[in-house]
Symmetry: C2
Subunit: 348 residues, 2 copies
DNA sequence: CTGTCGTACTAAAACGTGTTAGCTTGCCAT
DNA sequence: ATGGCAAGCTAACACGTTTTAGTACGACAG
């Protein structure tokens, strides 16, 4: 059934060694052109397909990277994976997929699996749930001698390469934009302080305020308390108090999208009564005319993969952190634009 | 550096064969409990990790599935991939990822790669671009003796297992819903006729009309001409003609989302002047209050994976087609709801 | 005839594991 | 003593490649 190099060798009247030399285009050893042709012909005729598994075992190299992510259900993560896959394809590396399911125990088993499969490196997409155990995972990987790159969190830059988007700068640009539009009471709806990106967004928010000499007020910062209650509930109570903010910078477009009905319900006009800026620039942000900070997750995936391959090539380098630029996309939720039909569509 | 079974054997004072027996929990051959303990202990101490590559070569089994998809950038595809990965994880299979990049030539190379890696089966997510060459890919796979399952197209059910969502039923439900709401002139914005799902949606549309004794009118069906021009342009011209439809069933939420500004611009009220039903139920459909047909892509991925594993287990089965049920999610774009919050965007 | 050299090819080892036939040892029955 | 048997373990092969040392052979010079 399955045809191996021995079969080809027999058919071409040569030895398996010769088949190998021909198939791999090795020229440092002399082979007559007629032999080469005979081998190629036999391989073609028999439908010979070299067995990568055998090759990997012998050479000790697999050209395979592990991609460990929380879940592909998140489009942000999926686009990162797309970038990884694209870059890997260009450098012809293969990608073995693994989920953590946001469960540390499951993650551990998956890492074990990837190592047993002899992956040469690991791209890890961080998630809040698996972040606490990341350090011990790094121990395991280090001991196994398998390098890795962490995407979307830089808490452990001292030990491992990190590729993140420049959330500090992104947040700062978002808030500066609101300040420029005349706002002074700007609220921030954060994402807690578990991840470095959440902390950085808060940091960028504070920096922008400081630069404009606007005092920081803790009462204007809403943590990740929305986790215990639905976002609309939280924001409803929050806006009901006296002296509400005139602008809101949210750490995630999704919070804003979920709250739009609440704003309509409360007769809060966007952007006149409340200007909104989100984060991540999901595709629905365009449809909802939400100003947002674009992160380019595909670029994250590509950059991480490049970095990983560089490290595999030269393992001694000092771990580095890479901050990919973000881009503020201004839409109707933060500015009153002249044309009544903003621009979620290709302009005429 | 890398510790192998021989090292463990030496450390435990046994042979590699014994190590293998212990590590794999084989009990059909008697081993004293003390030996088992010694081996386990040594393995633990040395950080022994069995080499899957060697194991795969020897046993000829890899427990690895190939997942071939157009691109992870589409959230629909990504959610299918999520389902595949989840189901594979549960049956402890591994997943080797491959992109087609919507390019038949690249796809061919990727399939070759997957086969060389000795995947035991292939999940193929169909795309319009690679559909024409699918048949010849099936030839290759058949000859290699590697089974596969196609998701999202059933053109080739005669040769291969197909897992699709029941688009005929989904479309019928959508249109029946519009008819039930009193509409008679219902337009259909299709997706061409290249894919079976596009054809099925058109079929469901016609069935619903027939059941309600509404004559089919070709002038109410818009093909995939939007590919040559931006969707808003197309729909603008289309609605400008005399005797426009009172309802629109689109093969894709995205078309509707992009056209909402056009409707606003033309002073067409949703749903009073034009009722809308989309397809796929993207997350933004909820935010935009769009009625849509939900497809559950995760279930598609899971079902396909189950089917693939069944076929690997018993290759002689006749190829089958599996239609996963769809679910109509009624929102404000198709019915006047009691609460006056139909506005898709933060309207001024 | 012998030695040298280049060309064309191959034999054999290696990668790390799983399987199985067979070996050793001790024990018990004859 | 001898045979039989079970328990406990191992030797050796196999998987399909790649690599390298080495062989065979002809040509050609001395």
């Amino acid at each position: 059934m399955k045809v191996c190099s021995r079969d080809v060798a027999r058919a071409a009247g040569v030895s398996p060694a010769t088949v190998s030399l021909v198939m791999n285009g090795r020229t440092h050893i002399a082979l007559s052109e007629s032999t080469r042709a005979r081998v190629r012909d036999a391989a073609e005729r028999l439908g010979y397909r070299p067995n990568q598994v055998a090759r990997n075992l012998l050479t000790g190299r697999t050209r395979t990277l592990g991609l460990l992510l929380p879940s592909l259900a998140s489009s942000f993560v999926a686009r990162i994976a797309d970038g990884v896959q694209r870059e890997a394809g260009d450098r012809d590396q293969h990608v073995l997929l693994a989920h953590t399911r946001r469960d540390p125990a499951f993650e551990q088993r998956q890492i074990e699996m990837l190592l047993q499969h002899q992956v040469e490196g690991l791209v890890i997409v961080a998630s809040e749930e698996t972040l606490p155990s990341l350090e011990s995972r790094l121990d395991v990987l280090e001991q196994a001698g398998v390098p890795c790159v962490v995407i979307d969190d830089h808490t452990h830059v001292d030990r491992v390469d990190c590729v993140v988007s420049d959330d500090r700068q992104g947040a700062e640009a978002a808030v500066a934009h609101l300040i420029h539009a005349g706002h002074r009471r700007i609220a921030h709806w954060g994402a807690g302080d578990a991840t470095s990106s959440a902390r950085d967004r808060l940091g960028g928010y504070r920096t922008a305020l400081r630069r404009a000499r606007i005092p920081f007020s803790a009462s204007l910062v809403l943590g990740d308390s929305f986790r215990s209650a639905p976002a609309p509930e939280v924001v409803r109570q929050w806006l009901a108090r006296r002296n509400p903010p005139t602008a809101l910078f949210a750490a995630n477009d999704r919070h804003l999208a979920e709250c739009l009905p609440v704003f309509r319900d409360l007769r809060i006009r966007i952007p006149e009564d409340l200007a909104l800026v989100g984060y991540a620039n999901y595709d629905f942000a365009a449809y909802l005319d939400l100003t947002s900070v674009d992160q380019d997750p595909t670029a994250l995936g590509k950059a991480a993969t490049r970095r990983l391959l560089d490290r595999i090539a030269s393992p001694r380098m000092k771990p580095s952190r890479m901050d990919l630029p973000t881009r503020l996309v201004v839409r109707g939720s933060s500015t009153v634009v002249p044309i009544p039909v903003p621009a979620p569509c290709p302009a005429p």
